[in-house]
Symmetry: C2
Subunit: 145 residues, 2 copies
DNA sequence: ATTAAGTCTATCTTTTCTATATACTTTATC
DNA sequence: GATAAAGTATATAGAAAAGATAGACTTAAT
């Protein structure tokens, strides 16, 4: 399961993505609109900022805006910052690998082999899907109704 | 991430799958061989038994064996028993659906739309992969070395 | 100077996961 | 039929993670 942290992060980025070209948005505004606890959102936005995805401005008239083209911010990047590994077992993780203590032979483990496949299938979608793409999906879904 | 419960469940099923045709195996034997805490494994095997996947025999000379053809036991079934939902967001789950409290419009939610795709990709693998298939993968991996 | 913002770090609370404990039931075997 | 070997069932402890909140600090606009 995606943590709320990650869900909130994506929601905030989508909000900011829709705001491109306009002055920065305040944490409290995003928190209110997306129904995210403000103090929790502060932490999340800080993480995203420290990872280089957001530009922030302190003081009156400050706020947050995207520091990159929404076409160049991919879900996989966000998820690795906020949730960590994409794979369902640590021994199948590319960026957060570690051994299963109880495992006898990793190279011949059938379970690992399946979850490497699952990881690859998941990764294919998450590395392709950008914030811009999510906004696009929403526009398409709205148009369908 | 897969819970240890699910990982242990799959390991136990693979053990039992390799034992087809032989007398039942005792919990303590599986626990020892697979390095799984015995009392924890008891609970897990009970769940699998109550779900109809295992046959059990009490008393001396008792133990567990598969109640189905290992070709007919699929990962998706096990995971739904031990971990619950496959989807990464509750609103994209087929068997454990529930609404995101903070979501404005589910039908037009771009995030949900992505994670429905992820769910489908994951599901395709997990509904195809059986215990027999995992054993087969292991044999292939051993042969490669 | 004052106010409106973000920054940083710590801590609290709740939930979930993992594991263990205890008492009970069934069955084989001597 | 007593005994030991096994599974059954339920409760609970302990640890870790997730979610949320608090408070003091910094920066910038007016």
């Amino acid at each position: 399961m995606l943590s709320k942290k990650t869900k909130y992060a994506i929601k905030a980025l989508v909000s900011l993505g829709k705001n491109m070209g306009n002055p920065p948005i305040q944490i409290s505004k995003i928190a209110e609109e997306e129904k995210i606890p403000k103090k929790f959102l502060e932490q999340i936005l800080l993480d995203l900022r420290n990872a280089g995805f957001l530009y922030s401005k302190k003081g009156a008239g400050g706020g947050y805006s995207l520091n990159k083209d929404p076409k160049e911010i991919f879900l996989v990047q966000i998820m690795r910052i906020t949730d960590g590994p994409i794979a369902m077992v640590p021994c199948a993780s590319l960026n957060f690998y570690h051994k299963c203590e109880e495992c006898k032979s990793e190279t011949t483990c059938g379970i690992r082999s399946v979850f490497v496949d699952v990881r690859d299938a998941t990764l294919q979608i998450l590395t392709e899907t950008s914030i811009a793409n999510i906004i696009e999906r929403e526009n398409n879904l709205i148009a369908e109704v």
